[in-house]
Symmetry: C2
Subunit: 671 residues, 2 copies
């Protein structure tokens, strides 16, 4: 009876694709009759497509190299899985960018007819991403498992998806902040232009950046955690329950049920009535999805053939609840109504230095609730699993899948954010009326509320996922002990812990370097193009798009090497135990830095907004200038380095797990 | 023959005290005939003494509470050792402050007679600290061991020394930066006063801060690593070589030999001739001491009765060399002539945001050489020990002692820095001639060179020390496995890793809060005291001293609880394995944050100096203002949070080791 259940997962995946197509067609059928918005939208579409084309050309070479290595080291099946995984990630990023750059103008146009008309356009566009990406991934994982019946080959799929996701995320992050900082430093500060002023040469690049960074990058990011957590549980299931294949298929079924729950949850979201808050609608959707998932997953657990159903269902729910709790508490430090933001804004009265110090400190403090949440989830899922006779490592890993199972819903709300943010930009660019812009503002505010929650969720999920991968690595290379008193393990921990700070530094420096070039180009255009500042001629936006594109691609080489090569080097030189320590070290600092950077960045952003809303002298005051410095520092924290770290540690864990069995045999030392 | 060798260590300790008294009397015999300098010096002496008195009163209560707990939990002997250890730390801080506040005016006066006359006054004043503190500690440790023959009781001594050191360091760090930032933000920025302008109400507090922060705090800091590393080796010696007491006494002998080598090394330093560079003299002293120590320690190793002399001497030398290498390479990122500093200064042309981002990133990159150095030292000392039949953990711990054995010399050069820095302040305050100030400048530059080296040394040594303590903890509570796949260990690692960022955040926020109060007080004085800005009346300096003092003391409560209570709580709730993971986690992020903060702070400081030296528009330019923001952000990084972290992780390790055996029996969970 057990064999065959994976078909259910495949069907859910296909259903998800059907829903995506349906939603996508509906969004594209909405109209946008504003000529300037259409023109602008078109420029952003072109810029984004050009960037992604060049990114994927460049990445094609990388994928080919790794595929050849995989053929030689592990056989053609893994190589094919790797290529298809990379292709799924690519398709996901492309779909997200495609729909987002087409939806934003339509949302802006629909805003003429009020909130209730505009909201579904934005939410369904987000929904396309949520359903399409998860559907593709689940189909991919399930299909490879059904064909080869080998979790090692499925691992190749995950490795492909994650390595592309890292580069899409990091590249997009560099791109978006290069353009954003460049546009702000010259446009806003030197020429006193408004955000999205058409005279600013970098404004198209800035909006392209929002799409390739926030939409495409973030989609690839959450997706890679999703796939990795499913695959980690499959590997552990195969290794720990050699007699019962139900434990291998179980995460696929949770994924399938998650799709059903999310689709049902979306129905709760779109039942938005006039006068209601769209932010609450999104949260209602998340909570409904959670409840529906809890019920459906209980049913599927008992039906699936696992012989200790409570020992897997309860850890799954522990993970899910932890995700929700981390999500809902993680914005305490970044919420504009909270003390941390307001104190930081107050500090702006003494100049930028204390703003920076406060934001950095609160960013550090903000790691506490999330880390405690992750720790509670770990212990709870371990204890619950062991209580019912299931190995604890399997329990922790199932918690990761539980947390991520409602990804279609989470991803839909998350993608909604940048889409409506861009819609606001379109409305401003198209000189729409005050009312239309006000509607877009309300949509945007809802996006920010949703983003705070999904961000905490994503980091919590990534933490549990890499812990699951860590367990999968240790089991699959047959480590006997990862004792911290072994100097190899300790050295591994130190070197691993060094990696996330190192990646962060490289990415931030990249942004600084590129922004510098962008600033020079914008200054040159204002200097050399007559009539530009008067608004008589259009700027050479393509040149700015080009600088952002080239810069982002060039700066990706070092991060790619760090993620793919260093774990293998550590393993080859110091052995498999050291590599285990390396992964553990990278997970710990990876999560700390990801949380700190995301939250400090969000806090600085909101402290600036708090002043712009009229407090402490409002826009243009000295306090505002000080707060702008904080916001600029926070930009690469929250949009470049912070979000790349999740994927970075996932890729390193996958790289170690894929090559671990070979490394273990040929290591130089074996400490 | 073995018993009795500890007498040699006691004799060396006494010799060190004799040298300290001799040097101290010589320094105090030097004259200072400038009335304004004497007056100023007196105000600083009073402020510093008042602060230390109140600090120690406050700490007296804490020590009493802990002593009572220790009597109840571990018996009166440990409690007495704890009290005496705390007393040694107190005495060390007091001696350092006493001599430093009296030497600075004398150095400034001697500078009238040129570099060759002024240098020994500064260096011998530093030497008083180096020899007195190490002498006291070594006598304390040796005496307690000779009386009780129990390493557990000696551990109490170390616990006392470290817990006081943490509070002296953190309190001094908050004090000094409160005063410094306050003085700068109002005095320099708003009223355009020079550094050390007598009209600035916070200038006395600022200079008191330099003495209580840099001299007293730093002395206590290095001392606590020194004692802790010696004690960790003694504990491991007792547990691992139950038959041979020579391994327990061995670190005491290395300490004794280190004193002899340092005293001989000092002779090389003071042979400074006219026209030579005092910075090179200091470095020559460090290198001579190292060579002498290597030779003497070889002799004592063979004489001491350890049965595997090469297995302990070689790890000792590995540690010593690693310390030197880390020291000499650690300033690559902060040296004013290097690319990192100059690029950061260049970024100031775009405003403060990129300055902050660059400094932060280079701070993160700067951890790489030091961490690799620590890793190499660990592996080398482990392998060398095991090669000759000595347990690897003992090898790593001996490496820590080897690194720290030349502490008298390191501490002397390190204390020299703030003393001559203050001498420059005295000379400016006393309106000395240009030539005198130039001599002070040259002395100060030498201090900065020495500081870069000793700072790297201190962090490397602290890293190996806490690793040694970690091993001592694991052995003494009888941990069977610290496997990272155990969820208790992993949760411990996560919570431990969270602690250093948490402490950093609390300390930085404290500085921000107090600086805010200080700013208001300075503004009030300029507003309400007629004639102050014209220089007709003196400011109410005592009030500023008071604000800094009270603020520092109040803000210490939370850090003290974090360091002493959290490890015990983790142990009580999650068990001894989790507590082991906790220590490991705290070591890893502690070192990363300590290095990042120290180096980023130094880099920002030097980027500012680079511009002040005339580059990029020089003083007063927009670039300079941007660089000043970086420097202000760096102040609490490099002088408050960064330097407190070493001691923080040492105290947590000691707290765990002292209470571990009790915790292990009554823990709630035992994951």
């Amino acid at each position: 009876m057990v064999v065959g259940w994976e078909i259910a997962s495949l069907i859910c995946g296909l259903l998800s694709i059907v829903v995506a197509v349906f939603l996508g067609r509906w969004v594209l059928k909405q109209e946008n009759k504003s000529a300037p918005i259409a023109e602008y939208s078109h420029a952003v579409q072109e810029g984004a497509a050009a960037y992604l084309r060049r990114l994927f050309q460049w990445l094609g070479v990388l994928v080919a190299i790794i595929a050849i290595i995989l053929v030689l080291a592990l056989g053609w099946q893994t190589a094919i899985a790797y290529i298809v995984g990379a292709g799924c990630s690519t398709a996901g990023a492309y779909i997200g960018m495609y729909i987002a750059t087409r939806a934003n103008g339509r949302v802006a146009w629909a805003a003429r007819n009020g909130l209730v008309k505009a909201f579904p356009v934005g939410f369904f566009a987000g929904g396309v991403m949520g359903t399409a990406l998860v559907g593709l991934s689940l189909i991919g994982v399930t299909a490879f498992y059904m064909i080869f019946k080998s979790t090692d080959i499925v691992l190749g799929f995950s490795f492909g998806a994650s390595s592309l996701a890292l580069l899409a995320k990091a590249g997009g992050g560099i791109y978006t902040k290069t353009a954003d900082i460049g546009a702000d430093l010259v446009g806003k500060v030197e020429f006193d232009l408004a955000e999205d002023d058409p005279r600013n040469p970098a404004v198209v690049a800035d909006n392209v950046g929002d799409n390739v960074g926030d939409v495409a990058g973030m989609g690839a990011d959450i997706l890679d955690s999703y796939v990795a957590s499913v695959v980690a549980v499959m590997i552990l299931g195969a290794l720990l329950f050699s007699g019962n294949v139900a434990y291998v298929i179980y995460p696929l079924l949770l994924g399938g049920v998650g799709i059903l729950a999310s689709i049902l949850g979306m129905i709760f979201v779109i039942r938005l009535r006039e006068g209601k808050d769209p932010g609450r609608a999104l949260n209602t959707g998340t909570i409904s999805t959670t409840i529906i998932f809890a019920i459906l997953s209980l049913a599927i657990t008992f039906a699936s053939g696992v012989d200790k159903p409570w020992g897997v269902w309860l850890p799954n729910i522990a993970g899910l609840l932890a995700g929700i709790v981390i999500g809902f508490t993680s914005d305490a430090f970044t919420d504009i109504d909270q003390a941390a933001v307001q104190q930081t804004a107050n500090a702006a009265l003494t100049g930028p230095a204390i703003v920076i110090l406060n934001g950095f400190s609160y960013g550090l403090l903000s790691i506490v609730p999330s880390i405690l949440g992750i720790c509670v989830a770990m212990i709870a899922s371990w204890v619950l699993a062991v209580q019912f006779g299931v190995p604890g490592t399997y329990g922790i890993s199932v918690a990761a899948v539980g947390m991520l199972s409602i990804t279609p819903m989470i991803l839909s709300s998350d993608a909604y954010g940048p889409i409506v943010d861009n819609a606001k930009g379109c409305a401003e660019y198209g000189h729409e009326s005050e009312e239309v812009i006000a509607v877009c503002d309300r949509l945007d505010a809802a996006g920010n509320t949703a983003k705070a929650i999904t961000k905490g969720f994503a980091i919590g999920a990534a933490a549990l996922t890499v812990l699951a991968l860590f367990a999968a690595y240790a089991e699959s290379v047959g480590i006997s002990s990862l004792d911290l008193r072994n100097p190899g393990v300790t050295v591994g921990v130190f070197i691993g812990a060094m990696m996330p700070p190192l990646l962060s530094a490289l990415l931030i420096l990249s942004v600084g370097r590129n922004a510098f070039k962008m600033v020079e180009e914008i200054r040159r255009q204002f200097r050399e193009i007559p009539g530009l500042i008067e608004g008589k001629v259009r700027p050479d936006s393509a040149r700015c798009v080009d600088i952002a594109t080239q810069g982002a691609l060039k700066e990706l080489i070092l991060p790619a090497i760090l993620a793919l090569v260093v774990p293998i080097l550590v393993g080859l030189i110091l052995g498999k135990n050291a590599l285990g320590g390396f992964l553990a070290g990278s997970i710990v600092t990876g999560i700390i830095f990801a949380l700190m950077m995301a939250n400090a960045g969000g806090l600085w952003d909101n402290a600036k907004k708090f002043i712009e809303d009229g407090a402490l002298g409002g826009k243009g005051s000295e306090a505002h200038k000080a707060a702008v410095v904080g916001d600029t520092v926070g930009d690469p924290f929250k949009d470049t380095a912070g979000p790349s770290l999740n994927t970075f540690i996932t890729v390193m864990s996958l790289s170690a797990t894929v090559f671990g069995p070979i490394i273990a045999h040929i290591a130089l030392l074996n400490l």
